[in-house]
């Protein structure tokens, strides 16, 4: 077998050195009742590369890839063009096939890249410090709520109706077991982001650990969080800001700048592909004074025995392998390689490139929004927006999305799918427009939507 270097002669010689008569002698500690002789049901015998490729390519062909269709899906995962060098560099074996940098003398590549990543993330989100990544945006969001509980010693979190419903679901799952109280809501197609913020401000009380608000929100709306931050701080609560589209930060003010204490984000849209939902990369940033309550790995600068600058994993007394049941989180493996992809893509863009990319996204989106809102009985409900907006259709959006997909247009995410059972939202269609969308794509969407509605 091509992945196994040992040959039968090697195996015999090794057994002889060990003093074992057969390989079975090495498994004597397995209780007899549990010794499995096979075969394993349904799993075929070994196969050559070509056969494996054929089988998996067959499954891949049964999916409609984003690049094969006019594509407008977002709602937490975004399609941007990723420069070819990003994927080439993360496939360097020294990055791809190394592990968590426990031996810093031979892991400076990973450690320096993580230190650079932390700095980029902190600056992008407008915070003092960032960690070396979380699993994804939704788990980062939950960890932020847990961190706010530890800092404020309060157990009641208020979640904005604009927070991605899957993130809300993750938080509800966890809160059920940790005992945190969550006040949740759903977005309103007839409301504004400002009205939602006013509702949140009114709900803050002396028991509130944090308010969690997504910006841009699930409908694509962008809001100023400054007033909300002040209201949180006045009551001793923290503002947790969530971002699922970090490209937006090339154009709009950062969450940290608007007063957020913890920013949790999904970094997928910079450097990481859609991957049907994973792997992605969670971003996590906060104020310097809260760093010891932060979850996850941290790379830090130090010097070696000869005085040269170097990097190590640090503040590990927060972590499970040292603190065990007293750790700030149970996270161990995070999303290192996706963090590297994020960092490389952001380095290629640079500040000027990111700003231009964000402007392009916004301009394309304005074009698409105007075109689609001109369709009969179609109304755009969210404003202002960055690269994603919501339409109210004259009928439920879920069958419309399916009808458009059946004719080869991936025309948006139905709020009916995101909020099953919420009849007030069932006509909502969330449309994301990035730099990858052409004028022809916009025309194709307008045609498909118009036809599906007629």
């Amino acid at each position: 077998m091509r992945y196994l270097p040992l040959q039968d002669g090697d195996r015999a010689a090794m057994l002889a050195r060990i003093g074992a008569g057969s390989i079975d002698d090495l498994f004597v500690d397995v209780p007899e009742a549990a010794r499995f002789e096979g075969p394993i049901a349904d799993l075929p015998m070994h196969a050559p590369e070509m056969a494996v490729e054929r089988q998996l390519a067959g499954l891949a062909r049964r999916n409609l890839a984003a690049g094969e269709a006019p594509f407008f899906l977002g709602a937490g995962a975004y399609r941007h063009h990723i420069p070819a060098s990003v994927d080439h560099l993360i496939q360097r074996g020294e990055f791809l096939t190394s592990y968590t940098p426990y031996q810093p003398e031979i892991a400076q590549g990973t450690l320096q890249a993580l230190f650079e990543f932390q700095t980029q993330v902190a600056r992008l989100l407008g915070c003092d410090v960032a960690n070396a990544s979380m699993y994804d945006g939704s788990t980062a969001c939950w960890e932020a709520i847990g961190m706010a509980r530890r800092i404020t010693r309060r157990g009641k979190a208020i979640l904005s109706g604009g927070l991605h419903p899957h993130y809300v679901s993750v938080c509800k799952t966890m809160a059920r077991f940790t005992g945190d109280q969550l006040a949740t809501g759903v977005p309103r197609l007839d409301g504004t982001a400002e009205q939602e913020i006013a509702r949140l401000i009114a709900a803050i009380d002396g028991e509130t650990s944090c308010v969690v608000v997504q910006n841009p929100d699930i409908l694509g709306r962008v809001a100023d969080l400054s007033e909300l931050a002040e209201a949180c701080h006045a009551k001793g609560a923290l503002l947790v800001a969530v971002v699922t589209e970090p490209v937006s930060l090339g154009l709009i003010r950062s969450h940290g700048e608007m007063g957020a204490d913890i920013v949790a984000g999904e970094g997928q849209s910079i450097g990481v592909g859609l991957n049907f939902g994973g792997p992605y990369v969670g971003l996590f940033a906060t104020r310097e004074r809260y760093v010891r309550q932060m979850p996850g790995r941290l790379a830090g600068e130090t010097v070696d025995a000869a005085g040269k600058r170097g990097f190590v994993l640090t503040l590990s007394t927060r972590e499970q392998h040292i603190r065990r049941e007293k750790a700030t989180s149970n996270i161990c493996t995070n999303s290192g390689l996706c963090a590297l992809a994020f960092s490389i893509h952001l380095t290629l863009l640079g500040e000027a490139g990111l700003r231009r990319l964000a402007s392009l996204n916004h301009a394309r989106t304005v074009t698409a929004a105007e075109r689609l809102a001109a369709l009969p009985d179609v109304e755009r409900v969210a404003d202002p927006f960055f690269n994603e907006f919501t339409l109210r259709l004259p009928k439920p959006s879920r069958p419309i999305v399916r009808a458009m997909a059946a004719r080869g247009v991936l025309g948006g995410v139905s709020l009916g799918r995101l909020y099953p059972g919420q009849s007030a939202l069932e006509t909502g269609l969330v449309v994301a427009v990035t730099e990858t969308v052409s004028d022809e794509d916009i025309a194709a969407l307008a045609d498909a939507l118009g036809e599906a509605l007629s």
Binding site: F27, A47, G58, A77, S98, Y99, P104, T347, L349, A352
Partner: protein, 530 residues
Amino acid sequence: MSINASGWKPNIGDGQGDHERPSFTGNRALMLEEPLIFEIGDTERTGVDLADAPAANAVDRLGALLRSAPIGLPGLTEPETVRHYTRLSRQNYAIDLGLFPLGSCTMKHNPRLNEKMARLPGFADLHPLTPIEQCQGALALIHLVGEWLKALTNMPAIAMSPKAGAHGELCGLLAIRAAHEARERAGGAARRTVLVPESAHGTNPATAAFCGYAVESIPATGDGRVDLAALKAKLGPDIAAVMITNPNTCGLFERDMIAIADAVHAAGAYLYCDGANFNAIVGRVRPGDLGIDAMHINLHKTFSTPHGGGGPGAGPVVFSQALAPFAPLPFVEKQGDRFVLVEEETAQAEHHGDAFGRMVAFHGQMGMFVRAAAYMLSHGADGLRQVAEDAVLAANYVLRSLEDVLEAPFAASGPCMHEALFSDEGLADGFSTLDIAKALIDEGFHPMTMYFPLVVHGAMLIEPTETESRATLDQFIGALRSVAERGKAGDPTLQQAPIHAPRRRLDETLAARKPVLVWREQPDAAVAAE
């Protein structure tokens, strides 16, 4: 705007301890020093050609939300970027370079076919909210991997969404807690404690505590296993679950596992198995036959998906019949020839009455599922069994080849599984496991896991995996023998190691005492000196 107008100034130290004259650049031939992007890039430079910025009126509607202050993100052109990261990569050790025997981490070869398959556009360029009819192939793949994992473990149910091993542990414990809560609603008493062996991974007690449980530890026997009598003495109406790693972190199979499971179940608790070490038994032992209730499977260990410098991993969890109803959303279900994604909480009642909600935003680590599928198809049922056998053979070969020079605390109790455990006993005064590990770096190997498990003094946990040739194993054994002999003889040069790595020993105390976690512009040293 330039972030670093004064240019990159290498800090090459005073050369103390170096035997050769420092070079002008600080470089040593192929070993190239590389500054930070903040020291070489600037905010106007870019490696991406984009269309011209749109007319200003397009952004007018954002008004006061527009970002005006500088962000401070340096850019590099493509050649500079490629060189920066290529140079950084060369300061890393990796499986592609040599033996990486980090115990309990299963650093095996990462097949490149996996990478190729994961990048097929039908998988890599597929949005998680693609309408169900347009992602049937992806759902079929998730289902297929799930079915194979269930077959390999002989367990009836699986949750595919957990993102890593520790996340899988969380999933398993949440299901256990949900099952107990269901019993409590039927009048059962609350259970508040989880038992964890002393030798467990730190994630085990951290996870149990996260789920709201008190954690108590179970002592080990003299031969490195769970003390069954001590465990039985601790079992009682307050115990919710017992978390066992099998094979355990001493590299040994828990011989009493079936008796442990029986005792745990008799006490009304559930048995969680940490499946980090599944590589030792895949195809030869199905954990379901041992009586476990839940186990996570690290696809980045047993199923060869790359570790990536610390993730992403994937940690699907298999469940027994008793816990199956409590697995999380979403999950893939086969209905006739069609696959559906059960993701709506309102659908729970129809399919899965006691499911708890989502653990992640979407459906788990699809990219890792594709890689694991490619690996499983490549090895097949026959090859996976050979994987376990070769992994165990290699570890025993290391154990028996070195037990005369390094103290192997459990070697007398019989064979080990996939990893060989040694202690620091017998090293000269003032010499430690750390010295042995750092000296292995100079020999061109990644060190073993150090100081874990905690039950052995100065533990050295060596997991060679099945993807090493006998010649590589022999070279490693020779190198470790040489280093161990130096340690026993008290060779002071050992305490200087490593001397050939990109860096000498790093000051971790300084890093923790004065944390520098982000780069900040330094005052210009030259100006300050004037």
